[in-house]
Amino acid sequence: MNRPLDPGSWQYRELNSRAPTLSTLSDTLIALAEEGHPIVAGSADLQYSNGLVGFARRYPERFIQFGISEQNMVSAAAGLATTGLMPFVATFASFLALLCCEQIRMDVAYCAQPVRLIGHHAGISLGFYGTSHHATEDLAIMRSIADLTVVAPADGAQFAAAIRASVHHPQPIYFRIGRGHDPVVYDQDTPFAFGEAITHGIGDEITIIATGSSVHPALEATRALQAGGKSVGLIDMHTIKPLDEKAVLAAADRSRIILTVEEHTILGGLGGAVAEVMAEHGARARLVRHGIKDEFSLIAPPTHLYRHYRLDAQGIEEVARALLA
């Protein structure tokens, strides 16, 4: 049958490697390699999901295909790094942060190798692919590991800036990325520094602290609330570790409520990190942690899940309004 297929039909691999945040990954790595940085990249049978196929086409000799063996990939990345290369290895966040947890601790973090781990499709962004493919524990897990920097960029521009900044970052890094289709939050040249939160305002009533995929909806919710006359602020806590304690405490000093928002369990992730700082400093504000409430997430198309878990702009606005009432 040689008739061409209907334009409405599509193959995932063709489509997804063009997803904005993810093509950012490949494009930025290509640019860095062109500038002379010793970048190598690896993928475990997901080069179309993470867009690294672009890098692989441009630098085939610097791309390593590991097949479906994530643990081997992570340990090998550490070995690669010992030779002076800077490996970026990527796979679904659930398989990276959970399946390779011990390899990340021992071979990457403990051996202090400058490996960059890209956990993509984190949170519930894999929708109906199943709870097995959701990663709502990865921030808690990665945060428990010493000497590992943990970052969840809000959009493609911030991701690109973070990758660029990583070239001069001495520690290994876990990057947490979503589906790669994040709406734009930042201009291309917004500065980025690990561990320095971006404060979009402090509210007298509520300051929202959001990370990664939750920043954009939280920003929309904040604007809607402000438009309704509420004093609400927002902090983009792109670096979960080391946490910008100053930013947290500044907000906790002025706001009545700190509302953390993350596409993650409310245990031990962003909410947990903020709780530690607040409790340790006897902060005045009350903390409310919004996210997945310590349960296994349901399946559904991603947007339906965001709605269900109130992680879309409307949901965050509802949660905040209930607190203001």
Binding site: G8, W10, Q11, R13, I68, S69, S132, L298
Partner: protein, 313 residues
């Protein structure tokens, strides 16, 4: 269109499907391994039903693993309508044979079978992947009656099946445990941990079936991380190995009957089912991009046509 395909598929099922094996619940070794023409026709019909339902369900989800389901259609059909000892309407029967999928992403082909067997209402299928539905891209034992184990993360299933086979031995139950694995799945180390353990424990009632369709997500298995010589690997890990044409129900069913009933074998058994990824739909058969995708209605119709025509062949 989708509904039509679905209806047609279930019409094909006719009155409650008469199972060749299940009525003999208690007897093993009680049937010979040769299939009758009637049985062959039925299994082929069920494989077609599985393909058509796969298309229908993916048309609801708007994205799915057509080709991973198609390569395994005859295997699913043979297992559930010939090989396995199960009770219609009693998914949790304690003595049932167990089935696990390492390649859980082909669950779209399993759900129609479980519904057909009466394990849950067929109406559930219409909600495939919707919020609140138990049916998603991967099988979930906590939500779906008849699913013996959940999967999604490739590489765990043989270990879980090993546990079931060990459990059967400890509890002195004679059920068999069948585990379907992808060929890309051979790259996961845990598979080899389980393989080694199964051979050490002499779990002859554990049967692995490898869907050797030659492709994984990033492309050909040979280009991604080649796994040959596959027979030698399994033999070196202490397994009995058979090769079958995975699209020939006679070959599959006779092999599985034989392995199921052979009580002299001391080793676990591995079946390398040689298959074609996307089997039944010409434009999927060699195109790796179809590991995951979506067919617009016009192409869906063509796929259905081809599947029906293939059946007539």
């Amino acid at each position: 269109m989708a509904a039509e395909a679905g209806d047609r598929a279930y019409e094909g099922a006719g009155p409650p499907f008469i199972l060749g094996y299940h009525p003999l619940e208690h007897g093993r070794n009680s049937m010979n391994t040769t299939l009758t023409q009637d049985e062959i026709t039925r299994l082929e019909e069920r494989a077609r039903f599985i393909r058509l339902e796969t298309i229908r369900l993916i048309s609801i989800a708007k994205v799915g693993h057509y080709s991973s389901a198609f390569s395994a259609a005859e295997i699913f059909a043979t297992l559930y309508y010939d090989t396995m000892r199960i009770r219609r309407d009693e998914p949790a029967w304690i003595d049932r044979d167990r089935f696990l999928m390492g390649k859980g992403h082909a669950a779209v082909a399993l759900f129609p079978v479980l519904a057909d067997l009466g394990f849950f209402p067929k109406a559930w299928l219409d909600q495939y992947t919707r919020l609140g539905s138990p049916l998603g891209d991967h099988p979930d034992m906590r939500k779906v009656p008849g699913v013996d184990f959940s999967s999604g993360s490739i590489g765990h299933a043989l270990s879980a099946g090993l546990g079931m086979a060990l459990g059967a031995r400890i509890l002195k139950r004679d059920f068999r445990t069948f585990v379907m694995l992808g060929d890309g799945e051979m790259q996961e180390g845990q598979v080899w941990e389980a393989a080694l353990a199964a051979a050490n424990h002499g779990l002859s009632r554990l049967i692995a079936i490898i869907d050797r369709n030659g492709f994984q997500l990033d492309g050909r298995v040979d280009d991604t991380m080649a796994i040959e010589p596959l027979r030698e690997k399994w033999e070196a890990f202490g397994w009995d190995v058979s090769d079958v044409d995975g699209h020939d129900v006679v070959s599959v069913a006779e092999c599985l009957r034989r392995l199921r009933d052979d009580e002299r074998r001391a080793k676990p058994a591995c079946v390398i089912a040689h298959t074609i990824k996307g089997k039944g739909v010409s434009y999927m058969e060699t195109e790796p991009g179809w590991h995951l995708g979506y067919l617009a209605p016009a192409d869906e119709a063509r796929a259905i046509e081809e599947i029906m025509a293939g059946a007539a062949r």
